[in-house]
């Protein structure tokens, strides 16, 4: 009996002594990029046999994991900040952040001030915007997500000024929240929103500052809330990482980006 126990213990110890395979890449970070990266990684593995582990967790995690050496590459769905210059950023795609409402919501395009007023709680009923006399359900993203950071930055808000009615962690929660509530407003990645809208989810993307939230506008650089999807690294890249980055910018992979409604950086 206790022999079995010792045996099991030894096995565990032996396995912990094993070093993980060196030809493996670990990529962690933004949950916006994660599904895209998972698919691209599938293809990369099929072609080269190099294992790529993709873990979600938020752009903040991507940055901290790369800094601590827990990941080879970090997925960050925004441009690098001033205090992140110790890391190198490799743009792999472009995306944007769209404001979404329910498809049945007839509200006209909102101005910057109106959006700020909605998110700070000063404007709290659709009737003030020419719609039904129902309160506005404000959907906001949780901390640590770059979607949230970029949104706040664009509108010049601090997180404690926002009065949300619902705080979501992942993109899909936001999509489902707005699609399930005719009086909700939220913001998610354009790629995700357009995908869902194309797949019969009742969403409407609002134009921002007169520019429609479409991939075409994003491509022409007109859309005000656009962002880079980055892979960050620290120091020298090993051969596998370089190979992966080359693979990612190969035009042959563009169709996968398009499947997620992101704009590959090769364009």
């Amino acid at each position: 009996m206790q022999r079995k126990m010792w045996g099991a213990l030894l096995c565990v110890l032996a396995m912990t002594g094993c070093q993980p395979a060196t030809d493996k890449l670990v990529i962690t970070g933004s949950s916006t990029i994660a599904p895209l990266m998972a698919e691209l990684a599938e293809r990369f593995e099929a072609q080269t046999g190099v294992q790529v582990d993709v873990q979600s967790g938020g752009s903040g995690r991507g940055i901290s994991d790369v800094r601590q050496g827990l990941a080879d590459l970090g997925m960050v769905s925004r441009a690098l900040k001033q205090d992140e210059q110790d890391l190198a950023g490799h743009v792999i795609a472009r995306d944007g952040i769209a404001l979404i409402v329910h498809a049945e919501n007839p509200v006209a395009p909102l101005t910057q001030d109106q959006i700020i007023a909605i998110y700070t709680g000063k404007l709290d009923s659709w009737s003030l915007l020419g719609g039904a006399d129902r309160p506005i359900t404000v959907v906001h993203k949780a901390d640590g997500r770059s979607t949230q950071e970029l949104f706040l930055e664009h509108f010049g808000l601090d997180n404690d000024q926002v009065q949300p009615d619902l705080v979501i962690g992942e993109n899909q929660q936001g999509i489902k929240a707005v699609a399930g509530d005719p009086y909700a407003i939220g913001y998610v990645s354009i790629g995700t929103a357009v995908y869902e809208a194309d797949h019969d989810v009742p969403l409407r993307l609002l134009p921002l500052q007169g520019v429609p939230a479409s991939l075409a506008a994003l491509e022409q650089g007109d859309y005000p809330l656009s962002r880079e999807l980055n892979l960050v690294s620290r120091g020298e890249l090993n051969t596998q990482a370089k190979a992966l980055l080359d693979f990612l910018s190969d035009p042959a992979q563009a169709e996968i980006y398009h499947a997620y409604y992101f704009l590959p950086a090769t364009r």
């Binding site: 912990t16 582990d53 899909q172 995700t192 869902e196």
Partner: protein, 276 residues
């Protein structure tokens, strides 16, 4: 029947409906969303397109590995502790109460705390990172109290007369344990194992922080692997167009739980109370 009884009978039936209706709705919505995707291929194919297409074969494998690690640690340790309790600690003594108290505490710890502990201790301090090993070990700790409890109950249920017969025949302690006690208690111990499997399968929070998200078939226990429950969460919350497969995975998980439940009942057929 007096009127209070009649009233009570009817109200009880209504209360029952109040519980059955939401459960029925839940099952119905799972079926509505997921049955279109469910098929034998679903179980045999690996996920592709970040899980939006394909099946869940790799996940069944990962889940199986995580469970294997969990049981490899929890069963010997749990059985050993239960044996200690049944052999060295007569019921009702101070030591029995202390240990019983500690076990109760362990059983009551919120699962997210196991997740935090697993993350800090296994993934970081022991350097196991996000791996099946971390996840399995953290889960092992979580099901340990359940395992010990069930095994202890089974061991203590072996009739005292057997023990006395063993002593009369001057059998060694080890012989007694190996040849009589454990085989006699085996069905009850098996029930404990099955209950632990069910508990482990239902757990998400712990695995999010320890075993990670990777969709590939694992090559070793040091690889990260995604369990079924984590897959349901990720597909529903993170992957565009992932709902149908999330619901289908949910149905598969439910089916596994039903089978486990039936196994428990079969082995517990001399059914006294309800084991939980």
């Amino acid at each position: 029947m007096r009127w209070p009884d009649r009233l009570a009978a009817v109200s009880g039936a209504l209360l029952l409906l109040a519980v059955l209706v939401p459960m029925g709705l839940m099952l119905w919505s799972l079926l509505a969303q997921g049955s279109g995707v469910l098929s034998v291929d679903f179980l045999l194919e690996d996920p592709s397109q970040a899980g939006r297409a394909g099946g869940i074969a790799a996940l069944l494998i990962s889940t199986g590995w995580i469970l294997a690690v969990c049981l490899l640690v929890a069963v010997p340790l749990g059985l050993g502790c239960a044996l200690y309790l049944s052999e060295q600690v007569p019921a009702g003594t101070r030591r029995a109460q202390w240990l019983g108290g500690v076990l109760d505490m362990l059983a009551a710890v919120p699962s997210i705390v196991y997740g935090l502990f697993g993350y800090q201790f296994f993934a970081i301090s022991l350097g196991l990172g996000f791996s099946i090993l971390s996840g399995g070990l953290a889960l092992a700790l979580m099901v340990l109290p359940l395992m010990i409890r069930s095994a202890e109950q089974a061991l203590r249920a072996v009739p005292f007369s057997y023990r006395q017969a063993g002593e009369a025949l001057s059998i060694s302690r080890w012989g007694w344990v190996k040849r009589i006690l454990i085989p006699q208690a085996a069905p009850g111990i098996a029930v404990g194992i099955i209950l632990s499997i069910g508990r482990a399968l239902a757990e998400t929070a712990v695995l999010l922080f320890t075993a990670g998200y990777v969709l590939r078939r694992p090559d070793s226990v040091m690889d990260s692997g995604r369990a079924l429950s984590v897959h349901i969460y990720d597909l529903a919350m993170n992957v565009p167009g992932g709902m149908p497969r999330a619901a289908a995975t949910g149905l598969v998980l439910l089916a596994i739980l039903v089978i486990l439940n039936l196994l428990v009942r079969r082995w517990l057929r001399p059914a006294q109370g309800v084991l939980y």
